[in-house]
């Protein structure tokens, strides 16, 4: 079995190597037959990788402990679900997942990317193959998932913190995001290499970029939810390097998704777009490197591994290679049109881009600061939460505001008087909201008031856009309000899907602000019968209840919660003591208030031998909007992604000459 896996990986490596070398030669010399076989080799490498993945999956399912990987990451008692998800529980399996996802994307992008034009596609194949060859090389020569040993009686088991339903979904989502950014990168490089610097490469990869970006966003939100309900410190994001590793490419990809619209509409920002796609892809490689090299201290301590230096070398190669290619093609990347006014849709997109990139780069600076400071002063220093929060406020709040302004500003040149009329309603709504917030005592956090006022402004301007569009469509006649509304979205999926995503980001901002700027934290040592209050709720400790489970002892504090005279229920924050792992885990108890969207978050911080409890309680207003934002985000992304026959016809007519089959 292991031999089959190894053979499949070697086959994938050789096919990718051929696609790289043969494909480059074919594209360079313009040999069509060779280009075809390079493309077929790329497709074949997907099949070989699927075989390798199937072998590993089968070994996991059969508890074949002659596979080192299976023995290291699973055990006989481990439930089947977690046994299978151990596929990406370790480094070698994660790399195999990388290759699987990459070759899957490659096949899909090459098969659907004909619109980019034959010359471009001929170069896309070797670019995708270059990345694939690198990962396959690691899998074959450095970190093989198919290393064997004398079969053990039982395996080492999976770390308890990974035995969680989120383990099944969070890492694959992130991989679909990280790896998916290879597609726009490969098409950008293909376009540069083929000297076809029009917007075709963007149009033909738009959906893949959007999909990768949506996966990356959802993956991060799932991780945040995992941290919130399971890790139990009451937060959902800690600016840890590994979390930042996923946030940075997402920010760069967000900037890219916006700026490509300017190139499509106005033929501007060509250099900026290729630089952004290099940045996004480079950051996604850097993210993988961070999580795999152990170079930076993180609470997600991944062991230092042999693949770190390889990744660093590859990042340097990709960055240097793509930047010199951009430099060589600069004359071709000149814009056809110029920015006409500082008050225009293009300009607001540009501001949004600069803010997103600035945010991504300041986070990058914070992440690598320990290495840089050690290199310069000989003494490592770290930046912490205040650093990141400062820049989140400085760059994030204007970004929030721009989300409300951008969609209402006209292309090319907007007159200030027209702007005044357009913004009358949103500005009025924001003003009323600001005054109401101050009157309600929200002034305790200045940042909070600003964030909420901006949020209302953005929501109002989005609502206005939908209302205007619907009214205009209804005026065309023949449909009612509902019909006009749905046909409005159906006819402009990208635009209105985008607005829905904007609304989800506002919900996210509201949730984050509520949970951070307006949270109340109380800690108290309570004996049975004693109580504490936190932001209007009274918590009475009634004593402990201990139960024995198969692999752990479950200690639960019994906490009755009252609001005024109303009894809200019994909650049971506690701890589990795992025998085999000799490990304790916090089991938090959360009371969701569906009406207000807030949470009462209870942590049994310390279980004392004298029967008392150190109870930590957090009131987190509006925090559930964060998870609602995730659902809205998925909805908006799907609207924007949905195949659009009308758009296809329009594009087909526009690029009729490029639709030649290879």
């Amino acid at each position: 079995m292991a031999d089959l896996g190894r053979a499949a990986l070697v086959t994938a490596f050789l096919l990718l190597l051929f696609a790289l070398v043969g494909g480059s030669l074919a594209a360079w010399r313009g040999r069509r037959r060779l280009a075809e076989s390079a493309q077929n080799a790329l497709l074949g490498s997907f099949v070989a990788t699927v075989v390798a993945a199937a072998v590993l999956l089968a070994a996991l399912a059969r508890h074949d402990f002659s596979f080192q990987y299976v023995a290291d990451h699973t055990s006989r008692e481990l439930p089947l679900g977690y046994t299978l998800t151990a596929f990406w529980g370790g480094q070698e399996g994660s790399l195999l997942l990388w290759l699987l996802v990459l070759s899957g994307y490659s096949v899909a992008a090459v098969l659907t990317g004909r619109r980019a034009g034959r010359e471009v596609l001929a170069w896309v194949v070797p670019t995708l193959a270059l990345v694939g060859t690198f990962i396959a090389f690691l899998l074959v020569f450095v970190a093989s998932p198919f290393a064997t040993q004398a079969a053990l009686a039982d395996g080492a088991g999976l770390n308890p913190s990974l035995q969680n339903p989120y383990m099944a979904i969070h890492p694959p989502m992130l991989y679909l995001g990280y790896v998916g950014l290879t597609v726009p990168f490969a098409f950008a490089m293909g376009a540069l290499l083929a000297r076809r610097t029009d917007e075709r490469w963007i149009v033909s990869t738009r959906r893949w970029t959007l999909a990768a970006w949506a996966f990356l966003g959802v993956g991060q939100l799932l991780g945040a939810h995992w941290a919130y309900v399971e890790i139990g410190w009451g937060g959902f994001y800690a600016w840890d390097p590994v979390e930042n590793a996923a946030l940075m490419p997402w920010l760069a990809a967000t900037a890219f998704l916006h700026s490509v619209m300017i190139q499509e509409k106005r033929g501007m920002l060509k250099i900026w777009n290729v630089l952004l796609v290099v940045l996004a892809f480079g950051l996604s490689l850097f993210g993988t490197f961070l999580t795999r090299s152990g170079i930076i201290q993180s609470i997600h301590s991944f062991t230092q591994s042999s693949i770190g230096p390889w990744f660093l070398g590859f990042i340097c190669l990709i960055t240097a290679g793509s930047l010199s290619l951009v430099y060589a093609r600069l004359p071709l990347l000149r814009a056809k049109t110029r920015l006409e006014s500082l008050v225009s849709r293009e300009a607001t997109f540009l501001y949004n881009n600069l803010l997103l990139v600035a945010l991504a780069l300041t986070i990058l600076w914070g992440v690598v600061y320990p290495i840089l400071s050690e290199a310069v002063t000989g003494q490592a220093a770290t930046v912490s939460k205040p650093y990141y929060n400062f820049f989140l406020h400085v760059f994030g709040l204007p970004l929030l505001l721009l989300m409300g302004i951008g969609p209402l500003v006209a292309w090319r040149r907007a007159s200030l008087r027209a702007l005044g009329r357009t913004f009358l309603w949103p500005l009025g709504a924001a003003l009323v909201a600001g005054i109401a917030l101050l009157a309600a005592g929200a002034g305790s956090s200045r940042i909070g008031v600003i964030a909420y006022t901006f949020s209302v402004f953005v929501l109002a301007s989005i609502a206005l856009e939908f209302a205007r569009g619907t009214a205009a469509r209804k005026a065309l006649g023949g449909v009612g309000w509902a019909g006009a509304f749905s046909s409005l979205i159906a006819r402009n999926r990208r635009r209105y899907g985008g607005y829905v995503v904007h609304a989800s980001i506002v919900l996210l901002a509201i949730g984050v602000t509520g949970a951070s700027a307006y949270q109340t934290v109380r800690e108290s040592r309570l004996k049975p019968g004693q109580s504490m209050s936190v932001a209007g709720d009274r918590l009475v400790f009634r004593g402990y209840q201990t139960t024995m489970e198969s692999n752990h002892r479950a200690i639960r504090g019994l906490v009755d919660v009252y609001r005024g005279n109303d009894y809200l229920g019994r909650y049971t924050p506690g701890k589990n003591q795992y025998f085999a792992e000799d490990q304790v885990s916090n089991e938090v108890s959360i009371r969701h208030d569906w009406l207000t969207g807030g949470d009462l978050f209870m942590i049994a911080d310390q279980v004392n031998t004298d029967g008392s409890i150190d109870l930590k309680a957090l009131q987190k207003p509006l925090v559930n909007l964060l998870w609602l934002a995730g659902l809205v985000f998925v909805g908006g992304s799907l609207i924007a992604l949905w195949p659009d026959a009308r758009e296809e016809r329009r594009l087909a007519a526009r690029y009729a000459d490029a639709a030649v089959r290879i």
Binding site: D72, H73, G89, Q91, E92, S94, A156, N159, S161, L162, G232, W233, M268, L269, Q297, I299, H300, S301, F302, T303, Q304, S305, S306, R338, L339, S341, L342, A347, L350, Y351, L354, A358, T362, Y369, P370, S373, Q379, A380, A381, T382, V383, S384, P386, Y387, F390, F391, V394, E523, R525, K575, D582, Q583, S585, N586, I603, D605, Q606, N608, D614, K616
Partner: protein, 129 residues
């Protein structure tokens, strides 16, 4: 804008300048980062530092009263320093674990800032080979 070749360049240049200004403002207010030290490097540091080491011996005391007391040793060394800590103790904290905690050295004892104790997960992904 007559006279200028392209406002894009102006915007980009001004933004870069603005970002640099914001950055300088931040670093001048908040200073650089927190130095990250091992117990053997602690001597002579007055201000707040981030200390990383391995927990040695049995931790004693009450983290929610007078404070939890334990010794931290260089992960690859012999120098140890006594630490007193108050606040939440992470699940994974125990003898032999690598931890990071912020605080100041005060009369030979490292007095930790409350709620800054962080444990490093033991080999979350794979055993060291």
């Amino acid at each position: 804008m007559p006279g200028t070749r392209s406002p894009v360049r102006l915007i980009v240049a001004l933004s870069v300048a603005a970002v640099l200004a914001v950055f300088l403002l931040y670093t001048s207010i908040a200073g650089g980062g927190t130095p990250s030290l091992r117990p053997s490097q602690l001597h002579g540091h007055q201000g707040r530092v981030s200390l990383m080491g391995q927990v040695i011996g049995a931790p004693a005391g009450d983290a929610h009263a007078a404070g939890l007391r334990f010794q931290l040793r260089d992960v690859k060394g012999t120098t140890t320093v006594p630490v007193v800590y108050k606040g939440s103790v992470p699940d994974l904290f125990k003898t032999g674990r690598d931890v990071v905690v912020d605080g100041r050295l005060h009369n030979g004892v490292f007095v930790a800032v409350p709620d800054t104790l962080v444990t490093k997960c033991p080999s979350k992904y794979s055993p060291k080979r």
